[in-house]
Symmetry: C2
Subunit: 198 residues, 2 copies
């Protein structure tokens, strides 16, 4: 059976498309990604790309998933560093922040780009995984919150604080010096934790 080999080869081309796209994303930003550039980089003609991905958006969506995977990995690793939920939240917040700026281009694809296409957001499993990680931590806080709905509200708040700080920072919209940004983060997270039980 040669179908096996063909499938493997197909997977290889698919991967080379993604890695060519990644190269462009990292060097020129996600806005510079174009199907023609990718086709050039992988040594194939234009329509070949379309036999592996339905559209350009489908390629970019792959990076959203990949970004959340990396974020989740980092968050999960951070979580094990302490057994105290409050400390876990603080550590996870820092990890989130550091990921956003270390993988800036990924983060922008995960959120900046995300604004227009938001219907599929809930269908990306990796985003749900991120939620599960944080929700689990919040649930372990003592005294425990009343119901699951309240936990979800707190998760929503927590994520919003993190993303808000990240986005406002990335846009350089406030004149806050970079050495103070960690302080702002800790300040906001501390306020969140303090207020978590009412």
């Amino acid at each position: 059976m040669a179908t096996e080999k063909r499938l493997k080869q197909k997977e290889e081309v698919r991967n080379s498309i993604l890695s060519a796209a990644r190269e462009i994303v990292l060097n020129e930003g996600w806005q510079a990604v174009s199907i023609r550039k990718i086709a050039d980089a992988i040594g194939y003609s234009l329509p070949v790309v379309y036999t592996h991905f339905e559209s350009k958006d489908a390629i970019l969506e792959e990076f959203v998933k990949l970004g959340f995977s990396m974020l989740n990995e980092s968050i999960a690793a951070t979580k094990t560093k302490s057994a105290v939920p409050e400390q876990q939240l603080r550590d996870m917040a820092i990890a989130y922040f550091e990921f956003a700026f270390a993988k800036r281009e990924y983060y922008q694809m995960m959120f900046g780009l995300g604004m227009p296409s938001c219907e599929r957001a809930k269908q990306i499993a990796e985003i749900g995984d991120f939620g599960a990680l944080v929700v689990d931590t919040i649930q372990n806080i003592h005294p425990p919150l009343n119901d699951a709905e309240q936990v979800r509200l707190k998760f929503h708040t927590f994520w919003s604080i993190l993303h808000g700080l990240t986005a406002i920072n990335m846009m350089n919209m406030t004149a806050t010096p970079s050495e103070m940004q960690q302080l702002v983060l800790q300040d906001a997270v501390q306020g969140f934790i303090k207020n978590i039980n009412n």
Copy 2:
């Protein structure tokens, strides 16, 4: 002197460009704005648009300014409804939230689009005005914060919380029902206010 009349006419064309662009933004979203559509709508040929605006981005930037103007107006009006700074902050937060969803397309141009082009952010006066409004309120809280730097940190935090909640909501990334979103906002702002003095 007919130069007066010509200047007035030029201003009219400029305004008609902006209002044509606004029409497209409101009906089809900001991503659908194109110079050709604008030229068509105003009854002129393509390059005429370029005699009034340097680029497409310059046109979109006009909406960022306009968006912040509207936001500032609403925030400033809200501010007068109470004399207590803490209550002012709560009201301003709600006004911010309501603006974001009432003028969704504007908000997305102010932030979603903003991510890529961020160098000019500090050069837009309207953004500074927004900061001044909030900073002033934070400064009036008793007991007053130690130094101006700390006030800026708190402003940064406050804005981040607001934008974070807005963005996460707009993307429908959490499954929080809409009637709960106001609760999340109040919860987060309450946490911020509680934590403001340490």
